[in-house]
Amino acid sequence: MAKGAIPPPTRGRNVDSSVSRLREGFGRVPVAAVIRRAEELPQALASQVPAVFFLRAPAFHLGPLVWAVQARGKMAFVHIDLIAGLGKDRAGVAFLAREIGVNGIITSHSGLIAAAKAERVVAVQRLLLYDDLALPSALNALDHARPDVVEVLPAIIFPLVVDQIRARLSLPMIVGGFVTDATHREAALERGALAVSTSTPSQWP
């Protein structure tokens, strides 16, 4: 990415970080591109995906990547739990929202959801399905935290638990985790997922 192509900071409030904008985008193309390394970004920018999820990015070099996404009319989300160098607290959330101007924050922690909502960015809470015995308490935590969107992982479990989730929560769901081919994507969308998130570039339309 040429440095000259990077737009100036959007400073948070100037960007449309609404859930309705996200719903519209996923209505057209129901896929979010998951980026783990900066080198993967150009392909995501060139794709039709309406949203980019940054995992594992370095906090203090994140700005240009986020602004490049927004310059393409896409929404940029950051997984705060995996961002190196950033406090996983209110100040960390405020930095991402105000200084970087991200559209949304992804976290597994209920405590950060409130902080993200206070900053008026889209709050995405991860529902981690590694253990069926842990699901009831995880649903309680989600019900209590009230995120804007739930990201359910891994995709292979989603069809097994979607009815259980819906019985407790009426939140839009993004399905991620080993969405490596069209079969996984279609299975999730058929069961009512708003979109899938995937780091497999061949799955970015």
Binding site: Y130, D131, D132, P154, F178, S199
Partner: protein, 193 residues
Amino acid sequence: MRTPDLSGSLLPAIRDAASLSQALDLGYRQVLLERGSLLAIIGPLASAARRGIAIFVNLDGVEGIAADSAALAFLATDLGFSGVVSVRPHLLADASRFRLRTVQRIHALDSTGLETGLSSIVAPAPYAIAIAPGVAVPQVMPAIREVTGTPVWGTGYITTTEQANSVLAAGANVVSCARPEVWREFSPVAVRD
């Protein structure tokens, strides 16, 4: 190690006295205490261990014991348990000092998390790694085998015999499961009879 080793590919996941006796009645010589209070069923567990039943404890799931050396010493020395399961590398390193078999739990939720988990595998190699959710094993086995030849357990969301079989067919050595109906299908007693 003098404590009993595993004796089959299905490991009943138990949580209380009722599920413990159900597993033992079906002829199993091994159980995983996955949830619940260890202290509430310490008597039956200790007596099972004395009779040669291999008992594994999920340190991240059970209540009543701390995640520290004193607890590990108690499990190993006083109770004669066979091994422990945890996501925490430090705890497992400590457990191996007490001659407990160590099973490192690794979450297979997405490729990024799996990579992180696989890169945190303790040295010396654990007795096994437990992939959670177990039903993801067929999808992630190639990525696991790229980095380690350690035996693999599948644990979590294995609720039917078909799922258990597909996880074993994908190369897992052991599946743990909390459903008695699946225990019956794999029961060592039924095989012997």
